[in-house]
C-alpha cells in the first residue's frame, strides 16, 4: 500500500487522494462523473463488496489527483454497510483510501440537512472543501446563498457549482492546488456531553479531537482502527461501563446541538425570496405518480413499456452482432489451415465470444432504463407506493429497488439491500431477489422464445408478451417465497422505513451513459471471462473422448458399404453427432439424463445445465458449441440450428412447446449462479443462507418444470 500523505511519484510529481462525500441525492456522483469523465473505474473497497468508484485526473504538470466517490451517508453514525465504508475511510488515518483532501458535496437547495454531515466532518479536523451543488435549483426558487459569509462562518473554502451543467468544475480543480484549510475549531463542543469518558479515552488512545473520542464512545463495537490492541479495547470497555452513559441520549443531544447551530448559520446565509405559496412541480407530479389508481397503472405501464422497448430496440443490433460472428466464423474456417488450433479458435473462442457480445444491446438498454428511473427520482416513489404491500410479504418499500435491480443482475441488487435497516426484511429480500429474472436469463429466454413462440410483426409482439410474463412469474415467485419466509424467520427487531423523496429532475445523458458503460464492462470482463473459459473447457470436453472412441467411430463409418449408401454431408453429421455422444461432455450429460428426463431434457441440455451453474448465459454458449460441432459449415445461428434439430423418435422438431416452456421455467427458478451465491454469503456472513437459497430454488425449478412438461406433452 502506498503512503497516504502526498505520496511522491517519481521525482517532483505529487499524487493527491481526494474523497467525495455527501448525502444521498446530493449530486455527488454527477460531480464525480464531471470531474473524472472516462478515466473512472469501478472496483471494491478492500474486504467488502461495496463498489468503489475512482478516477485519476492530472490537475497540472506535477499533481495527479485520485478522486474516490464514497457511498452517500447522512451522518458519521453508520447504519448500513455502505455508510460504514464512508465512515471508516474518513475516520481511519491508516485506511488505504484515507483522503488527503475531503470534498463535501451539498445539495444547496436542501442546505440545512446537508450541512449536518459537514458539521461532523469539520470536527474530524481534516483538510476539507465545501461544494454547494444544485445552485440552479436555488436560483430557480429565487433564493440566494451568501457564499462568502458561509465560508467565513465555517472557516473553510466554499465553491458554488452546478454539476449537471459541469459549471464550477474548473474552480474545484483550481482550489485543490491551493493550500487547503484544516478547521481548527469544534463545530460544537461534544466534550460537555460526556466529559469524563472523553478525557479518559484520550489517555488510552491517541485521538486528534474530542469528536474522535466521542466517536469511540458511540461506535465502540464497530471500531477496530483507533487501537488494535486488545489491552486498550478492554480499557475502553471498562471506561464505558463505568461512565454509565446513555448512548442514545448523548447522540441525540449532539445532533440537536448541531442542528441548532446550523439553523443560525442558515438564517445568516440564505435569503428567501418572499413569494406566494404555489404548488411545486414535484408536488404536482407526485399527485399523478402516487395517485391511488393512477400511480399503480403508470408503474405497470412503465414496466410494460420497458420490456416491449427492450425487445424492439435490441433486435436490430443483436442481429448485426450475430451476423458479424457468422461471417468471421465462415471466413476463418475457409482461410485458416485445418487443425486442432483452428478448431479451438472457431468452436471454442469465437463461439464463446459471440455468445457474450450478442447480449450487450439488451444489457445496455435495461441498465439505461434503470438509470433513468433512479436519476429522475421515480424509484423512490415506487418504494413509497409499494411499501405497505411489500410489508405484507415480509419485505420493505426499499426492497422494491433491489427486486427491480434484480432484473438486471442479482449481484448488485443483493448488494443494494444494505439500505434496508431491518435484518429480517433484508435477509428475505436477499433470499428472494435471485428469483427475479436477471439479464443473464435474458439470452436463454430470447433463444428459447424464438424457438417456440411465433414472431409477429409490429411493436406489440407475442414474443415480448411471453418475455414479460416470465418476468412477472419471477416477481410472483419472489413475493410468494418472501411471504413463506416471513413466517419462518424469527425476529424481534423493529422494522422502519425512513427515506428521502428527492425532487424530480430530468435524467442526465452522462449519468445514464456511465451506468451503461460500467455495467457492460462488468458483464464483458467479469461474466465474460467465466463464459469464455467455460466455452473453451467445453470445446475440449466435447471434442475429446477417453481412449480411442473417436477412432472407432470413424472406422465404423469408413466401410465401403456406408460410403456408397450415404451422402457426404449426412455422413459428416452422423459422425459428428456420434462423436459428441462419445465425448467427455456426452458422458456427463448422459449420466444426469435419468434425473432430468422427466422434465423433457436430454443429455445435450444436461451438459448445458451443468455448465450454466457458472453463469446462466453459458447455456447459450454451450448450445452454440454443441450445435456447431454437429455442423460442418457454420452458416446458421444457434437458434436456426436448434430449431432444425429433429427428435429421432418422433421425427418432429425436438424443441417442442413442452420442452421449451419446461426449460424456460427451469431457468426462471433455478439458482444457477455461483457469483450470486458467493455474494449472498458475503452479505449475510453465514453459509446457511446461500445453501438454503440453492436448495429451495432448485426444488422450485424442478417441480415446476416437471409439472409443465407433463402437462404440455
Amino acid at each position: 500500500m502506498e503512503a497516504n500523505k502526498f505520496a511522491v511519484n517519481g521525482s517532483d510529481k505529487k499524487s493527491l487522494k481526494i474523497a467525495l462525500v455527501g448525502n444521498p441525492n446530493s449530486g455527488k456522483t454527477t460531480l464525480f462523473n464531471a470531474l473524472t469523465g472516462l478515466s473512472q473505474k469501478t472496483g471494491n473497497f478492500p474486504g467488502v463488496t461495496v463498489d468503489k468508484k475512482s478516477g485519476f485526473i492530472k490537475l497540472n504538470n506535477t499533481v495527479i489527483a485520485e478522486f474516490i466517490d464514497l457511498p452517500g451517508t447522512y451522518s458519521l453514525y453508520p447504519k448500513s454497510l455502505d455508510e460504514q465504508v464512508t465512515y471508516e475511510v474518513l475516520c481511519d488515518k491508516n485506511n488505504a483510501d484515507h483522503p488527503d483532501i475531503t470534498i463535501v458535496v451539498i445539495d444547496a437547495s436542501n442546505l440545512k440537512r446537508n450541512l449536518f454531515l459537514l458539521s461532523q466532518i469539520i470536527d474530524l479536523k481534516m483538510p476539507v472543501i465545501l461544494v454547494l451543488n444544485m445552485m440552479d435549483l436555488v436560483e430557480k426558487e429565487g433564493d440566494t446563498i451568501d457564499n462568502k459569509k458561509l465560508s467565513e462562518i465555517l472557516g473553510i473554502k466554499v465553491i458554488s457549482i452546478c454539476a449537471r451543467n459541469s459549471s464550477g468544475i474548473g474552480e474545484i480543480k483550481q482550489a485543490l492546488l491551493e493550500p487547503i484549510v484544516v478547521p481548527q475549531y469544534d463545530f460544537i463542543d461534544v466534550k460537555k456531553l460526556a466529559p469524563e469518558a472523553i478525557s479518559k479515552i484520550a489517555e488510552v488512545v491517541n485521538v486528534k479531537s474530542n469528536f474522535d473520542a466521542f466517536q469511540i464512545i458511540n461506535n465502540f463495537h464497530q471500531l477496530n482502527f483507533f487501537s488494535t490492541r486488545t489491552e486498550d479495547k478492554n480499557k475502553i470497555a471498562e471506561i464505558l461501563t463505568a461512565s454509565n452513559l446513555d448512548f442514545n441520549s448523548i447522540q441525540s443531544q449532539e445532533t440537536v446541538e448541531r442542528y441548532k447551530k446550523i439553523n443560525t448559520i442558515a438564517k445568516e446565509c440564505i435569503t428567501h425570496k418572499l413569494k406566494a405559496k404555489k404548488e411545486s412541480f414535484t408536488h404536482k407530479l407526485d399527485n399523478i405518480l402516487t395517485h391511488r389508481v393512477g400511480g399503480y397503472v403508470i408503474f405497470l405501464g412503465i414496466l410494460f413499456l420497458i420490456f416491449q422497448t427492450l425487445f424492439f430496440l435490441a433486435a436490430l443490433p443483436t442481429e448485426w452482432i450475430e451476423n458479424f460472428f457468422v461471417s468471421i466464423t465462415n471466413y476463418s474456417s475457409q482461410h485458416l489451415p485445418k487443425g486442432e488450433l483452428t478448431d479451438l479458435f472457431i468452436n471454442g473462442v469465437l463461439a464463446g465470444l459471440g455468445g457474450i457480445v450478442v447480449f450487450i444491446p439488451q444489457i445496455a438498454l435495461l441498465f439505461a432504463f434503470i438509470a433513468i428511473l433512479e436519476d429522475t427520482g421515480y424509484m423512490a416513489r415506487v418504494s413509497f407506493i409499494m411499501d405497505k404491500l411489500m410489508r405484507k410479504f415480509g419485505l420493505n418499500g426499499r426492497s422494491v429497488i433491489p427486486l427491480i435491480s434484480g432484473v438486471a443482475c442479482a449481484i448488485p441488487a443483493i448488494m443494494s439491500t444494505r439500505t434496508i435497516g431491518n435484518r429480517k426484511e433484508r435477509i428475505i429480500t436477499i433470499m428472494v431477489t435471485p428469483l427475479m429474472s436477471c439479464s443473464a436469463r435474458l439470452p436463454v429466454y430470447t433463444l428459447l422464445i424464438s424457438l417456440i413462440v411465433p414472431k409477429t410483426s409490429g411493436f406489440f409482439n407475442y414474443q415480448g408478451l411471453v418475455l414479460m410474463s416470465l418476468y412477472l412469474i419471477g416477481f410472483i415467485a419472489a413475493i410468494t417465497a418472501a411471504f413463506v419466509m416471513k413466517r419462518i424467520i424469527k425476529s424481534t427487531e423493529k422494522s422502519y422505513f425512513i427515506m428521502e423523496l428527492p425532487v424530480y429532475r430530468l435524467p442526465q445523458l452522462k449519468t445514464i451513459g456511465f451506468t451503461i458503460l460500467d455495467k457492460v464492462k462488468i458483464f464483458l470482463f467479469d461474466a465474460g471471462k467465466i463464459i469464455l473459459a467455460i466455452s473453451i473447457i467445453l470445446w475440449f470436453l466435447s471434442s475429446h473422448a477417453p481412449g480411442n472412441r473417436f477412432a472407432e467411430i470413424e472406422k465404423k463409418y469408413s466401410t465401403v458399404e456406408v460410403l456408397t449408401t450415404t451422402s457426404a454431408s449426412e455422413l459428416n453429421y452422423k459422425i459428428a453427432s456420434e462423436k459428441l455422444g462419445a465425448s467427455y461432455a456426452g458422458i456427463v450429460g448422459k449420466a444426469i439424463e435419468p434425473v432430468i428426463a422427466p422434465l423433457g431434457f436430454d443429455w445435450k441440455i444436461g451438459i448445458a445445465l451443468v455448465t450454466s451453474f457458472a453463469a446462466r448465459e453459458v447455456f447459450v454458449g454451450t448450445m452454440a458449441t454443441i450445435y456447431s460441432l454437429g455442423d460442418s459449415n457454420n452458416t446458421q445461428t444457434i437458434g436456426q440450428k436448434m430449431s432444425a434439430e429433429i427428435n429421432p423418435k418422433t421425427g418432429l422438431p425436438k424443441f417442442t412447446v413442452a420442452i421449451g416452456f419446461s426449460l424456460l421455467l427451469f431457468y426462471a427458478f433455478a439458482m444457477q449462479c455461483m457469483s450470486t451465491l458467493a455474494v449472498v454469503y458475503h452479505e449475510t456472513r453465514n453459509w446457511k443462507w446461500p445453501v438454503i437459497q440453492f436448495l429451495y430454488m432448485g426444488a422450485l425449478a424442478y417441480i415446476t418444470s416437471l409439472f409443465v412438461y407433463q402437462l404440455f406433452s
Binding site: 413509497f384 411499501d387 428521502e500
Partner: protein, 82 residues
C-alpha cells in the same frame, strides 16, 4: 395561545405542527439526523395510496416514513379557540 399535543401520525394532509419530542429513542436518532429536530415545523404532504407510509415536508425537503414511525414523533399544534 395554548398548544395541543399529538403524534405526527394523527395529523391530516396539509396540517402543520411543530416537533416537540420523540417516544422511541432508537428511531429518534435516525429522524434527528434527517433534520426532524425539536422546534422544526413539519407538514403532512401526502399519504401513500394504501394508507401508509406518509410523506412530510420538513427542513425544506420531502421525507417519507411509515405511520408507525411517525407515531413516535410528538408534535404540538396551536389550538384555535372559537
Amino acid at each position: 395561545m395554548s398548544m395541543l399535543l399529538k403524534n405526527l401520525a394523527q395529523l391530516k394532509i396539509g396540517e402543520k405542527a411543530v416537533i416537540s419530542s420523540f417516544s422511541d429513542n432508537h428511531i429518534a436518532l435516525r429522524l434527528l439526523e434527517m433534520g426532524c429536530t425539536p422546534g422544526e415545523v413539519i407538514e403532512i404532504d401526502r399519504i401513500a395510496p394504501l394508507g401508509d407510509p406518509i410523506a412530510v415536508l420538513v427542513s425544506g425537503y420531502l421525507l417519507s416514513l411509515r405511520k408507525a414511525d411517525a407515531a413516535t414523533i410528538m408534535v404540538s399544534l396551536p389550538v384555535v379557540n372559537n
